[in-house]
Symmetry: C2
Subunit: 235 residues, 2 copies
């Protein structure tokens, strides 16, 4: 927790907050915080700054806050990701939040097991929890938007062309394609496939929506590693 | 498992192998393999190619193999990593193996908790297991070399200068440093700090050994994400 993130409901006045639960536990057990300590704080959806601990005990902590800094810029990207298996999903949500992805579309694919759509980790509070962990890690306050698209074809045919308009559209896909570009300055729409990759029909459909396949070399990376590697290379 | 990796002890003849255990289970349960199936196979430390399943049942699988392809090239890097916490260590070992790091030095640092050095995940068979998972993922056969350096100062003073000779020496470190270079062609020695970062004394010592701090932006990334991002940006 490199940033103590406050939810609007934690504020008891505009410059005073009271904390319970996980964050209190973390302050006590990991930071070994004491009254008088200064902490980096941020307001979810708002600014960042400093908090001063007035008091804390086993049940709550109270702090005054002063929020004057803007959060860091997001990357100009919309990331489409074939829904990963549940355990990977949680980590990927943290990764994309920490790296500054503002919009994630979790998409169905032929190689996504149907059961993955049933995981409790896709429920809004569970997604929120992982995104917050990513923001706390990276020191950011703005939650990425996460969209669930359980039907590949209607999304890619009807909505993706508009979503990708004006951006560089890329499909991360192993094969004899051009290498993924580096240090781009324009907005990007990037589609990353499931374990085993997009099937040819899906690549065709993504291409018809204006995206082009690019590769990262012959090594096949786990989704989480591929996401970090592609984002770091692009921006 | 994108590549079935054989250990030399699996070979009963130069072109025939017998498998048990985890890989057999994976073939049966995930690949749903049957006699007659062709698989991508590789020999740990050797070449890659094709295997044909002669027979398999609940206790063993037998296959003929033909290995003619070289494994993919490694990255020209020596990675120094402050020892991560045990759970992260396991994933990082997979990540570095999958991305083609040939040599990893796990190093002590002021911010590495002493208990991390006691984890059973540092025992050679445990390290081997995670590296193999990374190689299977990426389709590679060559195990990275992993060195444990429990004493920061003697390593950085006495051994690092020689290790880093002739390479671009970099320290991944948040702060007002030059951005991490992109698409380098020379060999690199890269040092990545613990959660919380290297302390100033350590940065000084690493600089004295010929390394220079570079940054990846104001976001603080988990070690595993930082490793993938820095490698993808450098090469």
């Amino acid at each position: 927790m490199n940033l103590l993130l406050l939810e609007p409901t934690d504020l008891v006045e505009h410059d005073r907050a009271i904390l319970h639960g996980r964050r209190l536990k973390h302050l006590l057990e990991v930071h070994r915080a004491e009254a008088g300590d200064n902490l980096r704080v941020g307001l979810v959806g708002g600014a960042m700054g400093t908090g001063c601990l007035l008091r804390l005990n086993g049940s709550e902590a109270e702090l005054t806050i002063s929020l004057e800094q803007p959060p860091p810029a997001k990357l100009p990207i919309t990331l489409l990701l074939a829904l990963p298996r549940p355990k990977m999903l949680r980590r990927v949500l943290q990764t994309i939040a920490s790296m500054g992805v503002p919009r994630l579309v979790l998409l169905n694919s032929y190689r996504v097991e149907k059961s993955f759509w049933q995981t409790p980790f896709l429920e809004p509070p569970a997604i929120h929890e992982q995104l917050i962990l990513g923001l706390e890690q990276a020191r950011d306050t703005i939650l990425p938007e996460v969209l669930l698209e359980k039907r590949f074809k209607p999304f890619v045919e009807d909505r993706l062309p508009q979503l990708a308009t004006g951006s560089l559209g890329l499909i991360g896909h192993p094969g004899s394609y051009p290498p993924c570009p580096r240090a781009v300055t324009e907005a990007v729409t990037l589609a990353i496939g499931p374990e085993g990759g997009w099937i040819p029909y899906e690549v065709e459909k993504l291409c018809a929506a204006g995206l082009e396949p690019v590769q990262l070399g012959e090594r096949i990376l786990r989704v989480e590693t591929a996401v970090a590697a592609l984002l770091a290379r692009l921006f």
